[in-house]
Amino acid sequence: MPTIIIDPVTRIEGHSKITIRLDDEGQVQDARFHVTQVRGFEKLCEGRPFTEMPALMARICGICPTSHLLASSKACDDIMAVRIPETAEKLRRIMNLAQITQSHALSFFYLSSPDFLLGMDADPEERNIMGMVRKYPQMARDGIKLRQFGQRVLEMLGGKRVHPGWIVPGGVSHPLQAAQRDAILAEIPEAIRITRAALQWFKGQIENFRAEVRSFANFPSMFLAMANDTNEFSAYNGWLRFIDANLNIVADHITGTDYLNYIGESCNDDSYLKSTYYKPFGLKDGVYRVGPLARLNMCQNAGTPQADEELAEFRELERHSVLSSFYYHYARLIEILFSVERMQTLLHDPEILGQNVRAHATPNQYEGVGILEAPRGTLIHHYRIDQNGLIESANMIIATGHNNLAINHGVLQVARQFIKGKKLEQGMLNRVEAVVRAFDPCLSCSTHAAGMMPLDIQLLDADGSMVDRLLR
């Protein structure tokens, strides 16, 4: 059977490949997304003191260490059964919003913008970040500045940009200084300007990507995200909710104590990434999506004025929920706007400079679960400790796992739409990669550089002989 292999998938965080199988007529029969790197964090933390977990878990990833720090610290708060001081919670929220800002800016400007700016069919020699920098320098400067803003907030609060150690079980390690607050506040107007300009630009481009909107994992599915009483956008505190494609609630008020009744994990023979599914419906029918698209479909309001305006416009895309995964990019920009606005509100709160930022306790229960909305979606850390406070077992569910079934669905949908016959063209294969990029998967990026490796795609005939080959 002829097979096309895209290995590695470029401009994403981590290592993966895609296999596309054709039938004898050259029609796409099946397509799969494989994650080819193994992560061993659930196993290697066994036996470690639970208080070490936030720092240890942050090493899962170099892009989202802050998200793991936060989810892990929340799980440790749960083990200690403490309610952290209000100031600490607000500071942690700012940290999470800064993380969302810098991560989404990276995804939109550094990884995906070459596709939008230079076109899916452009020569790969040009359709890359440097091509974009040369042709659209203002956009590139904006992208760098916005990411820099997010990184600077993380650095100012956490002490360093990557792997900050400031978030600890029980709160944060030290209070915010007035000078730091003022420095962050001073940069917010420019961050808002950049985000609004990018939104304006992206909305004007959507018309040029009708085929991608139609085929980029555009299908009815459930969505999972954090929810709360106000039905406002929620990324730090709340419970989990599943909704269907018509925005009906499927399951609600899911917490750390019962998430295992709703979320199942299935191992795959051809990928190190597990597929999670909505347990009551089973693996076949339990597909759901997480992340920016899910969160915007879930909430009624964002809760900040400018993001609410944008959200109202976003909702006009569809009658019910927005289903095309191409709109993840759009949703990401709205989330940046929300994050920057919300940071501003939190920093103006007089309590933000409060000195009481940490609760101290020893373990009060043997289990703890921390749930957070990370940039890419719902992140769950679940630890069980022994009587000495040492980790007995750990379970982590990351956003990309939740999205794995949907990503696979999307890869097949795009392959069927764009790959015809036995002659490969760069544009069709780039679209197969671009649908994966829309989800902004993070396959643990702590070890290697995906962008540096060549892309070798081979089209093999039924007898294994090579029909066509593309090298990048």
Partner: protein, 163 residues
């Protein structure tokens, strides 16, 4: 007045890989008026800072060559089409970004010291991460570090004649 930026980078948990970073930290004391950055990896955001400088020196460790030796390379703005700006950014790409986006790239040198061992080392009697990284350097890397610290002030004195 010549505006100078020194960037020392490397992984303090990977033995001799830290020698560029540690040299930059020592130079901070020797050259109090010079802006010095230390980091594990170069990041695209540094392009904006570079664009404001006349001279830049990148300090890095090298894995090939004779351990303990030091090499100076003149850098020009340059980037490959595969540059992704996420994990691995070269000094040349940063210069290219500075030139393209901000209209100016400084004259720049890359100073590399060849290390002997790039595996994590456990240091004895260390008092903190930085001391630990320094104590973990092999004698060859330490020799390279000392040469770099002597060489960099000389290079700056010769600016721009020999750059």
């Amino acid at each position: 007045m010549v505006r100078v930026l020194i960037v020392g980078y490397g992984n303090p948990l990977r033995g001799d890989d830290a020698l560029g970073l540690l040299a930059a930290e020592q130079l901070r004391m020797l050259l109090p008026d010079v802006e010095i950055l230390t980091c594990q990896q170069l990041a695209p955001e540094m392009a904006a800072t570079l664009a404001e400088c006349d001279a830049a020196i990148f300090l890095d460790a090298a894995a090939t060559g004779s351990p303990g030796t030091v090499a100076v390379t003149r850098l020009v703005p340059q980037s490959s089409s595969a540059a992704s700006l996420t994990h691995h950014v070269t000094p040349q790409t940063l210069l290219e970004l500075a030139q393209t986006l901000y209209g100016h790239a400084p004259r720049a040198l890359l100073v590399t010291g060849v290390g002997a061992s790039f595996v994590p080392q456990q240091a004895e009697n260390s008092t903190g991460p930085s001391q630990e990284a320094e104590a973990a350097l092999t004698p060859a890397a330490r020799a390279a570090l000392e040469k770099i610290c002597r060489l960099v002030p000389e290079l700056l004195r010769d600016f721009p004649a020999l750059w």
